[in-house]
Subunit: 208 residues, 2 copies
């Protein structure tokens, strides 16, 4: 069981929050709009609490379920309130037409979040390759993740398992760039290959 705080109150916050509650994790919702946080917390179940914008989150894992261009600024805004936390960046920096990334090629949102975070916070990229509405279907999906801190990744991996999902470590935080690109590949398949968005990216074992 993990104690998590979700910053955000949109679709991904709801989808991850619902699975986290089902998985017996302790869940706190934090939103710039306190009424939205309260509404989502209420919808998720009676054990779910709300936190205060800019104050220290209650959770050990803090999930940034916000628009990509708010992610690093929000982490800066929280500042030392995030000291010692594991920060999970789930964002997709899609450009306006979702066929390219709106972030320089030599970085990623996750790496920018790491620059903005307190020195002892650990950043993990995860969940950006799953669509929120697909997550809500409650099936076992693959969740790719990347990060530089082994312990933080182990904690996030265990949390992902508690959601009934399959964690897949892809390496260090610089792989976040390619996970953000994998989000584009998933979008491309949805548009061109599958013709719909009821799909998930994953890895299959093909035994010898």
């Amino acid at each position: 069981m993990t104690s998590i705080s979700i910053i955000g109150s949109g679709n991904m916050a709801r989808a991850i929050g619902a699975l986290a509650v089902q998985g017996d994790n302790t869940v706190e919702i934090i939103s710039r709009d306190a009424a939205k946080a309260a509404a989502l917390a209420g919808a998720l179940g009676k054990g779910v609490t709300t936190g205060t914008w800019g104050s220290a989150p209650a959770g050990d894992i803090v999930i940034l379920a916000v628009l990509f261009d708010s992610a690093a600024p929000i982490v800066s805004r929280f500042g030392d309130a995030l000291a010692g936390k594991i920060i999970v960046d789930i964002t997709n920096p899609f450009n306006a037409t979702a066929d390219g990334l709106a972030i320089p090629e030599n970085t990623s949102v996750a790496q920018e979040v790491a620059k903005a975070a307190p020195a002892d916070a650990k950043v993990v990229k995860a969940f950006n390759t799953v669509f929120g509405h697909v997550l809500e279907k409650g099936q076992t999906l693959d969740v790719f993740f990347a990060g530089d801190d082994t312990q933080a990744k182990a904690h996030v991996s265990k949390f992902i398992e508690s959601l009934g999902l399959r964690p897949l470590d892809v390496g260090g935080l610089k792989m976040a760039h390619w996970l953000e690109g994998a989000g584009l590949v998933l979008m491309g398949v949805a548009r061109y290959g599958a013709g719909n968005f009821d799909i998930a990216l994953g890895v299959t074992k093909v035994p010898g």
Copy 2:
């Protein structure tokens, strides 16, 4: 049934060639080393022919099964011999440690191949997200592909199906950059997430 030429005589040439023969396609092998081409053609079966290095390939689809840094130079070397062909770039421009790409961020091997190719040739990126030894197991795998020409993509898609594989269109040729990145994600999962290379990247339908 498609007529294909494979430039190359390594693992991927053998894996794709074997499936192509099984799928009743006409297969030609072209290698800088004529003896290697003859050996692979012989191993693939008696209908398989060899072509001449630098001359017009017999196949409508020409598969570049070479190292990534040879791809564009070889296409330049063949020059007008590739006029009107569909060129399939399957390469992965991994850096020496296979945790980044050894090609500038604003392009891809496939786009460099397109620049080197005759004006009326069509370039499609495909097969770079499958491991050759996994392909040889003969299971149904997902083959992501990208390209700018609709007809060329339809032809490649049909060819992929003839191999018993599932084609997944991800969009225009500029998506080749992100497919090359998806190759890195697959490598990352093999090393860190799965702990072995007997895996395949794919997309699952998650119906409503």
